[in-house]
């Protein structure tokens, strides 16, 4: 029974990794931009929620609602002012610029908040749990997993059922033709980055409530996000969730065998998938 509980915990943890990865996947899918500052943007979101909580005394959930529009604006401006200029045939400029951005965010956070680790306090919810038959699950991990599913459903709805979603897909298909149709790729990309940072805010909420964070934890989140995206197959959000779950389960199983093996087991699982299915589990039908 302990094994089933471990696996369930791993699956729920996968929801968190899927949240880390969804924004990364969204941005890569629409504008072929690999955002190396993605993990640091999550950490920045967590600090922003922390600031809102300490200034207003709001519950972190409501603080995240306040932070989301702000993060959207940050994403929009970041894309319009900086990242749009890096996009083109050459894939190196966006990598260099987002790597630099990662360093800038880490050091700005260090300057503003010191290296002390922080946490978003949820009060009694942190230790609350639900019993399903003989299995006990934490309420917060369930909320995390549920949020991941809702985020993916909403993103898919935006992608396939709304005008802006069609503009995303048309621009990702062919930016030049899209601009002849009256679409402005620079604005479409800015909206996409804004949307990605709203997802980042949700990821930040659960990052900050699940564990301690400090200005330097971003890059490790980026690695998990990358692994989830690649296992899932580039461009598929449900695949990303599957990828997150595989890493999550591998980590909790590894930790159950030996606590030192938690992180290693996740990476090993990633390598195995990469060996067996180099294009991921659910590669896009035609690319």
């Amino acid at each position: 029974m302990i094994w089933i509980e471990t696996i369930v915990q791993g699956v729920l943890l996968g929801g968190l990794y899927a949240l880390f990865a969804a924004g990364l996947s969204l941005v890569f899918g629409i504008m072929r931009l690999v955002n190396l500052a993605h993990g640091d943007l999550i950490v920045m979101g967590a600090y922003l929620i922390l600031v809102v909580v300490s200034v207003s005394g709001l519950n972190p959930f409501f603080a995240a609602l306040v932070a989301a529009p702000f993060m959207f604006t940050v994403g929009w401006i970041l894309q319009r002012a900086v990242l749009n200029r890096t996009l083109g045939e050459d894939i190196l400029p966006p990598l260099l610029v987002t790597f630099g951005l990662s360093v800038v965010i880490q050091n700005t956070l260090l300057e503003g908040f010191t290296a002390d680790s922080q946490r978003l306090s949820m009060g009694p919810l942190e230790t609350a749990s639900v019993n399903v038959g003989p299995i006990t699950m934490g309420t917060l991990p369930i909320l995390t997993f549920g949020s991941a599913i809702v985020v993916i459903l909403v993103l898919n709805w935006i992608f396939y059922r709304t005008a802006i979603g069609r503009a995303f897909r048309a621009t990702s298909d062919d930016p030049v033709t899209a601009s002849l149709m009256g679409i402005r790729p620079d604005r479409v990309f800015a909206t996409a980055m804004g949307l990605a940072l709203v997802v980042v805010t949700i990821a930040a909420l659960y990052l900050g409530t699940r564990s301690n964070f400090d200005p330097y934890v971003g890059p490790a989140r980026l690695i998990y996000a990358f692994e989830a995206v690649i296992i899932g197959g580039l461009g598929s959000l449900w695949g990303t969730l599957a990828g997150g779950i595989i890493i999550g389960v591998a980590q909790t199983l590894g930790a159950a065998i030996n606590p030192e093996w938690q992180i290693l087991a996740g990476h090993v699982a990633f390598l195995i998938v990469l060996l067996v299915r180099p294009r991921g589990l659910f590669p896009r039908a035609f690319d």
């Binding site: 069609r166 503009a167 897909r169 298909d173 033709t177 009256g182």
Partner: protein
């Protein structure tokens, strides 16, 4: 009759190669103008100059009485210039319906709910209704050509630029396409049509313009133009 498009001494060179050499013509609203000329005569370049994808080195382009020589392609699209490409460029991962929806909403700056009926109408007129929900990447050549035409139509253009839309089609397919374009033209749309398939062109257009090395070497009634010695020599390669 009002003039919808007017080119005055428009010139463009790529290095030493003159692709448009003092091109001038006026296009009255509602007319269909055909453009012919040998390969490399500058036909597609002329379209690029009209739509704004290329900036002319000299000269002036007026659209609806306004100087648009330096106006961005997107603004011209919003002002009612629609264009089809020689090589169809659909959004392959979007369905046929979505391709038109994107063109109709963004090309006119309207909401999706306002354009759905228009899009359905265009799908019917271009006989694409059966494949409306298929990804455009899987279409046949004729369907892609139709989609190219449909996408230009979906923006409800005042001026429609067609670039070799009949090329590569069978005779039957070509006749069907001609009927669609003729119907569109009789609906009041001004058309400029570049085409190598001459019988397709002469079945629709009222005036013919002949380009050679970027120069206009003939402009007028299609029958007279086709009979003229210069056109026969240069374009059809017949020694007269």
């Amino acid at each position: 009759m009002t003039t919808i498009l007017s080119l005055k001494d428009v010139s463009k060179s790529f290095g030493a190669l003159k692709v448009a050499d003092h091109v001038s013509f006026d296009l009255p609203e509602g007319q269909a103008l055909g453009i012919i000329g040998p390969n490399g005569a500058g036909k597609s370049t002329l379209f690029n100059l009209i739509t704004g994808n290329l900036a002319p080195d000299a000269g002036r382009i007026e659209y609806l009485g306004r100087d648009v020589t330096r106006v961005a392609p997107m603004q011209r699209c919003l002002a009612g210039m629609g264009r089809s490409f020689q090589i169809p460029q659909p959004f392959t991962r979007l369905t046929v319906f979505e391709n038109l929806l994107v063109a109709a909403t963004h090309g006119q700056d309207r909401r999706e709910s306002e354009v759905v009926d228009d899009v359905a109408h265009v799908l019917e007129r271009t006989e694409l209704i059966d494949v409306a929900n298929r990804p455009a990447g899987g279409l046949t050549l004729l369907q892609r050509k139709r989609l190219e035409l449909a996408r230009a139509m979906a923006t409800q253009p005042k001026l429609l630029l067609l670039d070799e839309i009949a090329g590569g089609l069978t005779d039957a397919e070509c006749s069907a396409l001609i009927e669609t374009i003729r119907a569109l033209h009789s609906g009041g749309v001004t058309i400029i049509w570049i085409e190598h398939v001459l019988h397709a062109l002469t079945a629709v257009v009222e005036r013919l313009l002949v380009l050679d090395f970027g120069r206009v070497i003939g402009l007028g009634d299609p029958d007279e133009i086709m009979d003229s010695r210069e056109v026969k020599e240069i374009y059809l390669g017949i020694e007269v």
